[in-house]
Amino acid sequence: MSGDKVTKALLFLSSLTILLLSAGIVLSLTGGAIPAFREYGFSFITSTVWNPTSGSEEYGALPFIAGTVITSLLALLLCIPMAFSTSLFIAEYFRGTRTAGILRSLVDMLAGIPSIVYGFWGFYALRPLLISTGLTDQGFGIFTASLVLAIMIVPYATSLSTEIIAMVPSELKEAAYSLGATRREVIFRVIIPSARSGIVASFILALGRALGETMAVTMLIGNANIIPKGLFSPGNTMASVIANQFGEADGLKLSALIAIGLLLFAITALVNAAGKFIIRRFA
């Protein structure tokens, strides 16, 4: 065999490994989730009861689905103004300047901070601050988790939107300037409309991140297996309930947790696919 063929075979084998691995993950998740789905059927998704007491065992995923959706959407809402303005700043207002370069590296640095550190920071710095506002007793809950989640996805959304905005052809901007448009007009009439779908996609991908984010959320959300009743109510997300309970779980409870994992996997995959589709289609 020639060296070329060996390389080719090796590359093929490693790609195959990845393929088998992902298939294996999906298969074992599905296999593990079957008992829970067989026991509860569709009501697994709609039930709000989470009762591990043996004898009257019952598991429903709705509180966690709600927790995940609410915290992620709230985080996204908080993230959009920050990420959008920062990316405009870097990619347009201060394009090519030192300031933009510094800001860009800061954003990248923020993206590299481990989840646990954000959680820690939220626990020791943000929580006392929230308690001091008097809005919450313990400082745990949906809002705290969402806020930290927002801070965690801002760098990701920012760097994606920055790239999208920087990709708007300078010919279009120059065309607008040559017609006497001001910078503000160019930004709002040319750059944002041309980059719109890409910007939307970068926020969808950021949402995908938020959905599965685990560590920081687990530390801050208050870990109550209920549908959150308000902004400062404790709750649990799909990821945080798994992180919290998998250690002591077996039997039907383990299967219910695996089923939640499978659902989370499916939701995240869908959201990411939607984001990638929009980026590929329009950007």
Binding site: E171, A175, L179, G180, V186, V190
Partner: protein
């Protein structure tokens, strides 16, 4: 030949030097004039500073930090630099090398983009009139009147470029700057644009960058020849092509470089 000495030039360039990097001049001490209602061609090999010179005339360089401009440009006898850049750009329109209609706008919206971008409100019938006039002026009306509300990017390259000319003249500028407007077009689309420029010079003063000598010879009244950032020679196109004064001009015209 008409009398150039009695009519004041539309544009007067005085000792203009432009550097993208400190000390490295892409345009070196250029002085020249542009006559009213004429086509002035700026020729020269690639990289000699044609675009740089042209883009100074509507202060495009100000969009980028660190480009140094020295010298002066007068429009109708007044320096363009103290002017409001917005007003200047309305008086001096521009067409680019590659057709660049706004992809998010319809053909109609593209023509009036100069107004909408500047938040100038027009009545619908005024707008319709501007659109029809501008499109007729660039001989595009008959081709697109059926689908004015389709995206401009559906048109062919040549049609898109004529749309861009329409967009530039919709504001009724005094001067129209064109930077190699036909370099991305096929010969038929090119000759349409050339014919069009011949018509447009009745209303506007045209400055055309081209690296295509025969285009300059075909349609320009005056020519400038640039080399390595210098304006080597300028004058009536006929004179410059038949009896060039500078050896470099002659070398260029006989195809020795470029």
């Amino acid at each position: 030949m008409s009398d150039t000495h009695t009519t004041e030039p539309v544009l007067k360039i005085e000792g203009l030097s432009i550097a993208y990097e400190p000390g490295r001049y892409a345009v070196k001490d250029v002085s020249a004039t542009v006559r009213r209602n004429s086509i002035t061609a700026i020729m020269g090999p690639s990289g000699c500073g044609k675009s740089t010179l042209l883009r100074a005339m509507n202060r495009m360089h100000e969009l980028y930090p660190n480009i140094e401009t020295r010298g002066d440009i007068l429009l109708d006898g007044k320096s363009i630099f103290p002017m409001s850049v917005i007003e200047l750009r309305r008086k001096v329109g521009m067409v680019f090398q590659r057709p660049n209609p706004f992809p998010n706008m319809t053909i109609y919206e593209n023509v009036v983009a100069g107004y909408s971008l500047n938040d100038i409100r027009l009545k619908k019938n005024q707008r319709d009139e501007i659109v029809e006039n501008a499109l007729r002026n660039v001989t595009l009306w008959d081709e697109v009147k059926e689908f004015l509300f389709r995206k401009g990017t559906f048109l062919s390259g040549g049609q898109q470029q004529r749309l861009c000319v329409a967009r530039a003249i919709a504001f009724n500028p005094e001067v129209l700057l064109l930077d190699e407007p036909t370099s991305a077009l096929d010969p038929i689309a090119t000759s349409k644009i050339e014919d069009l420029l011949g018509e447009l010079k009745k209303k506007y003063t045209i400055v055309l960058v081209t690296h295509n000598m025969s285009q300059a010879a075909r349609i320009s009244d005056d020519s400038m020849f640039m080399y390595l950032g210098e304006l080597v020679e300028a004058g009536r196109t006929e004179t410059l092509f038949t009896t060039p004064k500078d050896a470099r001009t002659e070398a260029y015209l006989t195809g020795k470089f470029g």
